[in-house]
């Protein structure tokens, strides 16, 4: 009797009910490519200075009007697993270079699209991946040849501003001049001598109303909150204002352990509040004697404490965010004290002036500092959405400055670098003997597609513009890209480096690398297994808390 071998169960019977499984070229690879292309297509209209905005409404109903790809993707909550990989790569781009998220995303999309045709031709994904890796290596080398110049002094505003302007231009075209000026001034003013640039030192304070032209730079920190007591400004005749920073509430401390005040005699009862007042007064008096003119509290300011603070003419401000408190401590050189004690001379911070200003109808308290470690860009605009988007543009600009301090070299912008790389890669592909040839030339096509998209967004004919650029490049001219004139709003093919359009080398390097890697990762997946989504409450969505 033959041995009975039970038939192995099928895939679905091995998994819990509700699991999904896709495998093979048609089911997994092509579908992944399709999904990724769809997503990158969504943000491709945002690319470039004259790209369009999107309104995104997230799951709690908050509006975003933006063309920042990272923000759009973050709020979109992409569900497709392969598309998620692209989102991750653009997030990484944001962390590494601070800018160029859209470039990274689009390039990855185009790489995948181009890969599809070679895959259908019969190449295996591994061959395409190998080719792409090789192309990336070549492109990185070629990128070095594209360098236009470098910033010799990161403190020189004349050198820094054009680069920041290009970074901001892609976010807020038309307002870029003003913003770039603000950002470069802010960044240079907080760059420590010989130290690393910390993006956290450039703060943004948004106040609704007025126009973008009303935005300005304030040396020091700005809090959108009025002072607690009667004292609203401290302007010393000479010297500096001493600031005491407390991470705790300025009030009587409450015991954590449950306790009661036990009184045994009537005298104790009579003296209780008198004693309390005496202690608080002694506390505030010793603060005043230590020279403190401003008290910043991390929690509430007790009524009795406020009474004595008013009495001793001390300005009291409540800062509820722990992060802001820490920044203020850095800015003033104070040490945030965990409990209400009199700070020693070292623990006391100082600044030049503390004033209250009316901006629109909002009162803000400004800790001014003549040579400050923190500066604040006060943004004004007529809508909340615009304010939020301006803030993102400022963030990008500041990140661009940070990248600049790490690597001061830059290449030409406006699609010129991509176009030049594409031409060179295409030529290099011809010389390649193996099967990688196909993939490398597809890589070049993908770069061309990026230029084409930029042209389309600039209301030019994509194919026509691309051929024009190629012709110019073939004629031996360099740095040919698309220039969008901010004065007339018209775009044309021109030598962009002469027009001052340049992008940071670092941004391009990372964008190429991350786009290629994520595309390769997506290509190398041939099977997706999804288990049944668990019931119960939804886990915390992507993005999480953005408390800076």
């Amino acid at each position: 009797m033959a041995l009975h071998v039970p038939r192995a169960p099928g895939f679905y019977s091995m998994m819990k009910e509700g699991a999904r499984h896709y495998a093979g070229m048609d089911e997994a690879v092509f579908r992944n490519i399709e999904a990724c292309c769809q997503m990158s297509g969504m943000t491709s209209t945002c690319y470039g200075p004259v790209g369009m905005n999107k309104i995104v409404i997230n799951h709690i109903g908050k509006h975003f009007i933006t063309k920042d790809a990272a923000t759009v993707l973050q709020e979109l909550e992409v569900a497709h697993p392969a598309a998620k990989m692209l989102v991750l790569s653009s997030k990484q781009q944001e962390q590494e270079a601070g800018d160029g998220t859209n470039l990274c995303l689009m390039l990855a999309g185009f790489l995948l699209k181009e890969a599809e045709s070679v895959l259908r031709m019969g190449l295996s994904p591994t061959e395409v991946v190998a080719g792409y890796e090789k192309a990336l290596e070549m492109a990185q080398k070629m990128l070095e040849d594209q360098i236009v110049g470098q910033v010799s002094d990161v403190r020189d505003i004349a050198q820094v501003e054009p680069l920041i302007r290009c970074a901001v231009m892609s976010k807020q075209f038309g307002l870029h001049e003003r913003l770039a000026r603000l950002i470069s001034e802010a960044c240079i003013s907080v760059l420590p001598q010989g130290g690393h640039f910390d993006v956290d030192r450039v703060r943004v304070c948004k106040v609704l109303g007025g126009s973008v032209d009303g935005s300005r730079l304030i040396g020091g920190m700005v809090f959108r909150r009025a002072a607690e007591g009667d004292v609203t400004q401290v302007i010393p005749e000479s010297g500096r204002v001493k600031v005491a920073v407390f991470a705790c509430p300025v009030d009587f401390l409450q015991t954590e352990t449950k306790g009661t005040v036990l009184m045994e005699t009537a005298a104790e009862l009579a003296n209780f509040s008198v004693e309390e007042e005496r202690i608080m007064e002694a506390q505030v008096r010793s603060l005043a004697e230590a020279g403190a003119r401003v008290v910043v509290s991390g929690g509430k300011v007790g009524e009795l404490a406020l009474h004595y603070l008013n009495h001793y003419n001390i300005l009291a401000l409540r800062v509820s965010s722990k992060f802001d408190l820490r920044r203020l401590a850095t800015a003033t050189g104070a040490i945030a004290l965990p409990r209400l004690t009199t700070p020693t001379a070292e623990e006391m911070g100082s600044c030049s002036r503390v004033v209250t200003q009316e901006v629109g109808d909002t009162n803000v308290v400004v800790f001014e500092e003549d040579n400050c470690k923190i500066s604040t860009v006060l943004l004004r605009a007529s809508t909340e959405n615009l304010l939020d988007d301006l803030e993102r543009a400022v963030d990008d600009g500041v990140n661009a400055y940070k990248a600049l301090t790490r690597n001061p070299r830059f290449v030409s912008g406006g699609g010129a670098t991509e176009a030049a790389l594409a031409v060179k890669l295409a030529a290099a592909a011809e010389a390649e003997p193996g099967l990688e040839q196909y993939a490398i030339s597809r890589f070049a096509n993908a770069l061309d597609a990026v230029v084409k998209t930029l042209a389309t967004n600039c209301c030019l004919n994509g194919a026509e513009t691309l051929s024009k650029i190629h012709a110019e490049l073939a004629a031996g001219r360099k740095h040919i890209g698309i220039f969008c004139d901010p004065d007339s709003g018209e775009s044309a093919v021109a030598n962009v480096s002469e027009r001052g359009l340049s992008d940071l080398l670092l941004v391009k390097q990372w964008a190429l690398r991350l786009a290629c890697r994520s595309a390769c990762t997506v290509l190398s997946v041939d099977e997706i297994i999804m288990s049944r989504p668990a019931g119960g409450p939804k886990p915390r969505g992507p993005g999480g808390d953005d408390d800076d």
Binding site: I60, K62, E75, L76, V204, C205, A266, A270, A381
Partner: protein, 549 residues
């Protein structure tokens, strides 16, 4: 089975709504037109009011654009931008909220045909920005500066601005009366012109003309205990103590506990509690205080005690009133009675309690540092008074702005016609596509005089033709004359508004229009179902508005 092999590609979460492209822009513009329709009839002196009933069945009558839009609870993503600019205009200048909204919509409406014909939105945006700059430059150029050194001239300027602002409000019939009142109120303030130092109190009953300005503080008599009737209600030059102390028998501390061993000791504890209260009162009395005001309750023991010693007391005074009293009368708000000196006590020339309408009011007048004032509004219906309060608020804001910036332009559509004329002239010198677009913008500026005429029931085409003619002949300030259904020189007719109001309205409207045009896609995520949106959820701090940075 085939279903399982080839499911739809789900890129985004299910339920996500995504619409894009040019149709999206056009549909956004259409949504904005609907909003503009809702508020356009409120513009101008002959504008109509709106009665809005909110979700709590509370009726509000208003013709203030910002108020109406706020109450409408707009959810359309693009139209919410309009609500935002109305809010921003309110914050920045305080008036002109209706004009900013309809101006933004008109910009969009005029640009719509171009978009439909295939002009790229970016080109339109560029033209809008350029047109705005041109308009602002022209505004600066023609705005009339008033010399600040002549007080009489400044005053008349302020009154004219207030009159223009009030012209379009519910109280237009009493505009002379109220504009004087508003200017008086603002003149009483100090250099910073803090808005919260003008208190507005509403007392039902009486006529609008019974409204009075108290150069000092006035607030409604607070809840009082027995013994209050015996207290004097009028003092000359009293000392005033402002307290943040509960004058009542109370536990010294919430978690305090007294353990006694004998009856005598117990009695002593009871006595001490009384003594603590009496000590405070004695301290006040010894310092010569005649009037005691406290944020916290003043109990019947203290009330009676004060009555016996020729003192007046009022507990549970609202904080803002107490602060204003402090600003007017000097002194400090005390949280303890220890360390009471004359310097920390306030004073005023006259304190009295008077009857206004059905309410008793505490009046402090002749204050040494009268940096504050109170407007006591009288009127019939409650909604009517609320609208009057909003109107006065707008007028006060206008006067404050006018006091800070002294350049004015003529209202009543005059400035709008002039800007329109200027832009049209300029557009003829432009060779590119911009010519048509800036021309369209010029047309958009004509909306305000047109709407003024429509609302007043005039023949708008007729009046506008006349206006265009006058402006072409160099008559800068020709505007709509509401009284005579004609055109007139509105500058000599004293219809003035601060240039700043107009400048801000133009900027805000164009910024809104630009951001509306720059959006080609709306993606809406499904609201998270596990929690209710907004209310029950620990929302991210601020949500764009309240987060202190």
């Amino acid at each position: 089975m085939t279903q399982q092999i080839q499911p739809r590609i789900i890129l985004l979460k299910e339920g996500t709504d995504s619409s894009q492209g040019l149709p999206q822009i056009i549909s956004n513009i259409n949504a904005c037109q609907a909003i503009a329709e809702a508020v356009r009839t409120t513009l101008g002196p002959r504008g109509m009011d709106k009665l809005i009933i909110d979700d709590r069945k509370k009726a509000t009558i208003s013709n203030d654009g910002a108020t109406i839009l706020k109450l409408l609870n707009v959810v359309h993503p693009a139209a919410r931008i309009l609500v935002d600019i109305a809010k921003s205009q309110d914050a920045q200048v305080g008036d002109g909220t209706t004009s900013v909204v309809i101006l933004a919509c008109e910009f969009l409406r005029q640009m719509k045909p171009f978009l439909e014909e295939g002009v790229h939105p970016r080109v339109v945006i560029h033209a809008l920005r350029r047109g705005t700059q041109l308009a602002l430059d022209r505004l600066d150029e023609i705005a009339v500066k008033i010399a600040k050194d002549d007080p009489a001239q400044v005053r008349s300027l302020l009154e004219k601005c207030a009159t223009t602002a009030l012209n379009s409000k519910l109280v237009a019939h009493q505009k002379e009366f109220f504009s004087k009142l508003v200017v008086d109120a603002v003149m009483l303030l100090d250099e910073l012109l803090p808005l919260d130092m003008i208190g507005i109190k509403k007392v039902a009953g009486g006529a609008l003309e019974d409204t009075r300005l108290v150069s000092g503080v006035a607030f409604k008599k607070t809840f009082s205990y027995a013994g209050f009737e015996m207290q004097p209600k009028k003092y000359a030059n009293p000392k005033i103590a402002l307290l943040n102390i509960e004058l009542e028998l109370r536990a010294e501390r919430e978690n305090a506990e007294v353990r006694v061993k004998s009856v005598e000791e117990y009695q002593k504890v009871v006595d001490t509690e009384w003594n603590i209260l009496y000590d405070k009162l004695v301290t006040l009395h010894k310092a010569g205080v005649k009037i005691v005001l406290s944020k916290l309750p003043i109990g019947d023991v203290a009330t009676q005690w004060c009555a016996d010693r020729d003192m007046f007391c009022a507990g549970r005074v609202p904080e803002e009133d107490l602060r204003r009293t402090q600003k007017a009368c000097g002194g400090r708000i005390h949280t303890t009675v220890v360390g009471l000196t004359d310097a920390t006590l306030g004073t005023c020339e006259l304190f009295e309690e008077v009857q206004i309408g059905a309410d008793r009011y505490n009046l402090f007048t002749g204050c040494p540092r009268a940096r504050t004032c109170t407007i006591v509004l009288r009127g019939g219906a409650e909604q009517f008074m609320e609208e009057t309060e909003r109107s006065l608020h707008d007028a006060i804001m206008i006067v404050r702005r006018a006091r800070k910036n002294d350049s004015v332009v003529a209202g009543g559509g005059a400035i709008d016609m002039e800007l329109s004329y200027h832009l049209r002239q300029h557009s003829r010198n432009v060779t590119s596509k911009q010519q048509l677009l800036i021309g369209a913008m010029a047309k958009a500026f004509e909306l305000i005089p047109r709407q003024l005429c429509d609302n007043a029931g005039f023949d708008a085409t007729f009046v506008l033709n006349k206006l265009r003619n006058r402006h072409a002949n160099g008559d800068l300030w020709a505007g709509v004359d509401i009284q005579r259904e004609d055109v007139a020189d509105n500058f000599t007719a004293c219809v003035w508004e601060p240039a700043l109001v107009k400048a801000n309205a133009i900027v805000a409207a164009s910024e809104a229009a630009c951001s509306m045009l720059s959006v080609d896609e709306t993606v809406k995520n499904p609201a998270s179902s596990s929690t209710l949106p907004n209310e029950n959820k620990p929302v991210k701090p601020g949500r764009g508005m309240g987060r202190p940075c």
